[in-house]
Amino acid sequence: MMRHKILYLLLLLEISSAKAQELFPLSEPASNAPKGVVGVKALTNSYQEFDALRNMVGLRLIYGLLPRLTLMATISASNHHDVDLPANLVSHTHLGNQTIYHVSPFQRGIPYPYIFNGVYLYAKFRFMSIDRFKSHLRGAVYGEWSNVNVAHDEAEANLMDDTKGYGTGLILTYLKNHFAVSLNSGVVLPGSYAGNSTSYGLTLPTTIAYGRALNYNLSFGYLLFPKHYSSYQQINVNVYTEFVGKSYESARVCQNGMEIPLETPLLKAGNYLDVHPGIQFIFNSNTRVDLSVGLPLLRQSYTHFYPFTYLSIQRYLYNEKK
């Protein structure tokens, strides 16, 4: 615990003396992709859940439709969940003649197969740009949609890889010289998953309606190298610290048409704040490799274990025929 506290202190010290860039590994900045340019991103995240290594892989297409409007489409696959809801999600006890049903804690760390999650769409519109010499303040709004329909068994909704639904929010990014800070906050209005859970040999229709969520991310970035630009061939090294927070409502579990009381924190309302220190290498001023590691700062998410590692590679496909 003491070791964690020291690590966090070091991270905060890094922030206070930082100077950085806005190409954050996890959070989108308020800036856009160039108009008419397609970008491709391959991304993956993973964490160890007891004996099971959980992993998500995604492929994203990015397109600058207008100077102020960026569109993204991501498909993903993961081994986060089984093909259907856990068996014995709902158990019961007897009190005299009465049968009391409840959602009990279920087993974690079971290996699952990779399944295709679905499609996640994201659109970002920049409504404000105050550009100065080597600085800018930008504001954007975003909307997101997902048709992901997997047997997610936690209350917290994640549109890209866990739950279907909608989301919208606001981004404010300030950049001065090599320092960047960005606030990214929004709501998630998830849908529900309708599947089956086996209880005492009976397979019963079971629905989980996930809780609405509020995201609040604060990201800092700092350009380590180069100190002075001389060519596009210089490898850029940026370091980042991203605080990723979320509050979410309790899920509602219905089995056989009956709402079941919850007795596991996994499906109850919660909130947490993670910190994700990260590093980024940009080659030829285009190919971007991001790596970050997520650690719990205040409470923790039940949708992943820690450390939560993230890796991505992104490139814009410029037409360089000239």
Binding site: S31, P67, D131, K134, H178, Y232, Q234, N236, N286
Partner: protein, 167 residues
Amino acid sequence: MKNTILYFILFWSVHLAAQFQSVEIGVGGLTCSACSRSVEMSLRKLPFVDSISMNLERTNAKIFFKKIAFVEIEKIANAVVNAGFSVTYLNAEFLFTNTIVSNNFCFSFENNKYQFLLDATKTLNGKKTLHFIGDKYLSKKEMGTWKARMKGICALSAKEKLYYVTL
């Protein structure tokens, strides 16, 4: 009659057989080499651009043109905006031959009209830098003092664009 003569002297557009030598454009909000590359790639799409020299330390770009090509200044500014940045200034080097210019003097060049905004009459000879005036070429703060002086005086045909310039 006197007014008509004055009108002709002041506002009759002169056709200059010259060439844009180069353009220097200031890019606002630019701080990273990947962003600089986006701007360069956006500018490279313009058919009249021959080469570009980006300076990330000074956050500007020097653009050189193909010899046989119509330079469209507005498209240069649009290319910077399309890359996600803004234009803080746009200066073009233009070759003059003993041209007397005064406030609201108009000249025609490559199917566009250029109107001078000046405080004094000047004789231009050789390579001169024209500073473009307009919402697309200056920050809002810089535009404040020019807005009132931008009264379209040059006669335009249907396909012509009007650019305001100063020295």
